[in-house]
Amino acid sequence: MRARTQRPNVVGGLVGTLWLVVTLVPIYYIVVTSVRPRADYFTSNPLSIPAEPTLTAYREVLAADFTKYLVNSVVVTVATVAVTVALSLMAAYVIVHNRSALSRRAFEVLLLGIAIPIQATIVPVYYLIVRLGLYDTLWALILPSIAFAIPISVLILVNFVRDIPRELFESMRLDGASEWSLLWRLVTPMTMPAIITVAIYDALNVWNAFLFPLILTQSADKRVLPLSLWTFQGSFTVNVPAILAAVVLSVLPLLVVYAIGRRFLVSGMTAGFSK
């Protein structure tokens, strides 16, 4: 490390600073426009700080059923993540500790699942959901989201379950613990950081998902946040501050998570892809 820090890295610093500007300008624009009075939007410089910042746009968005969409998003995300994590942990435990050929085969099939592009399967998923009578319900979002989140979640958890010393299992088995209590009393606490990582990774994906809500739901009652942004865009066409206030509000929960658990969020994003 010392060798690398002897001279300032001019190229790296330049690329980094340039990208910082590219990253921050749109975000800055979103925030300043969301507090800009609606009338000023058409006259003032889009990157200037508003002379009289206002929260009117936020009030308009909150009045337009925003909280209902927020609740839908929370329900879908929490349900999907809870089921995914529980089922994936069970599967990961079996894959690591059940040495039958069938469990090995199951893992290979799951790994294949990581490479399936979800987008490509929307027609049959739509068909299934319609046939099951689940079209335009929150279940239509939860059930397929669980299925598509399972492969990567299992893959990440397998790597952590494998690190638990086998002696711990042996000794607890000798004490008469059942496999279910091993799962609950040994595997779960020992893999807790990985569970949080997986949960955050899955939550981020579900929270921001757009395609499944677009094709599997229809009514405003079942609308989730990303889809609501798209429909706000239709209903608030000339009220750009309100549209961008909705964008800010949709990011806010994740920003809070980022501020509290940045480490988990960063490791969650890259889990399963870095060695």
Binding site: M1, T5, R7, G12, V15, G16, L20, T23, L24, Y29, I30, Y41, N45, P46, L47, S48, L87, M90, Y93, V94, H97, N98, S103, F107, L110, A115, I116, P117, Q119, A120, V123, P124, V125, Y127, L128, L143, P144, A147, I150, R162, E179, L183, L204, N208, F210, L211, L214, I215, F232, Q233, V247, V251, L254, Y258, V266, M269, T270, F273, S274, K275
Partner: protein
């Protein structure tokens, strides 16, 4: 019954009859059944279903009826789809050319331990918090020719109809997609670059290697596996990417940004030709899986194989 069970069995006969039943070693397969069932029903069944539906006529409401190869002949000879295939290839190649070098350089930059780089890294992450819908909507107004960025800085070059001009809309999408995904890929490179042993750099410096030489002879070769993983994700991701393009241009102006996934959506859910959409879906699945496996082979050690090691 595992080997361990069978070995233990004879001992059972010598133990008192009150001994509890023979203990299975390891969790029962049934414990993985719910996960497998979910995956099989909502991921494997659709994978097979998309192939079957590609041979049917279905408007999305009634019952699909058998159509033979009519959809395939129709879609493959449709100039709209042919155009979409070309656009998808262009989008994928351009995205890779922009994202791969940029995220590699940024990742290596972020791997440094200097305080200001840590601050930069915290901020670089922010785009990952935005949903594709949020990014698309924000950029649409930011790039608005009348009230957007072009009017803000007084730079003539910036004052263009970025999304409305057919020759500009594709490059604009490439840029916005890069804005969304470069943070993710640079995180991969950051993690990988931090794992390069410092001794390699010390040795190179002692040998008199400059910064450029060190980068090309140590950093790049050490990042080879990450380049393969990240490129696979970029290429498959760009081929199948939908959300942002749908929100920003919906394929327009005209068909200027109607890439394959969008072609599939518009066919199926706007023109109610689900059979034709399924044909495009099959193309996406095949290309996506093929690219994944091909790049894994090229990379020598594949992520999937290495994850299987030690099992």
């Amino acid at each position: 019954m595992t080997v361990a069970d069978r070995v233990r069995e004879p001992r059972q006969t010598t133990s008192p009859p009150v001994q509890p039943r023979p203990r299975r070693v390891g969790p029962p397969l049934v414990m993985s059944a719910p996960a497998m069932a979910f995956f099989a029903f909502f991921a494997i069944v659709p994978l097979v279903g998309v192939v079957i539906l590609s041979f049917t006529t279905w408007d999305g409401l009634g019952t699909p009826t058998w159509a033979g190869t009519a959809n395939w002949a129709g879609v493959l000879s449709d100039p709209v789809t042919q155009h979409a295939i070309r656009l998808s290839v262009i989008l994928t190649v351009a995205s890779w050319l922009v994202q791969c070098p940029t995220s590699l350089l940024l990742g290596v930059f972020m791997a440094g331990r200097q305080r200001y780089r840590a601050v930069y890294s915290v901020l670089f992450f922010l785009p990952l918090l935005f949903s594709a819908a949020a990014v698309g909507i924000a950029y649409k107004s930011l790039l608005d020719p009348n009230f957007g960025l072009g009017t803000a800085l007084g730079i003539d070059w910036l004052n263009k109809d970025w999304l409305g001009d057919p020759s500009l809309s594709m490059p604009t999408l490439v840029f916005v997609i890069a804005w969304c995904f470069i943070p993710f890929h640079s995180l991969l490179y950051q993690a990988a670059a931090r794992q390069i042993p410092p001794s390699l750099y010390e040795a190179a410096t002692l040998d008199g290697a400059g910064r450029t030489a060190t980068f090309f002879h140590i950093t790049l070769p050490q990042l080879k596996n990450t380049i393969v993983t990240s490129s696979t994700l970029m290429i498959v991701g760009s081929l199948t990417y939908f959300d942002l393009i749908f929100v920003m241009t919906n394929g327009g102006p005209g068909n200027a940004t109607r890439v394959l996934p969008l072609d599939m959506y518009l066919r199926g859910f706007r023109s109610y030709d689900m059979g034709g959409a399924a044909v495009v879906g099959v193309l996406l699945v095949v290309v996506g899986l093929a690219v994944s496996f091909l790049l894994n082979r090229l990379g020598g050690s594949s992520r999937m194989d290495s994850q299987m090691d030690g099992l």
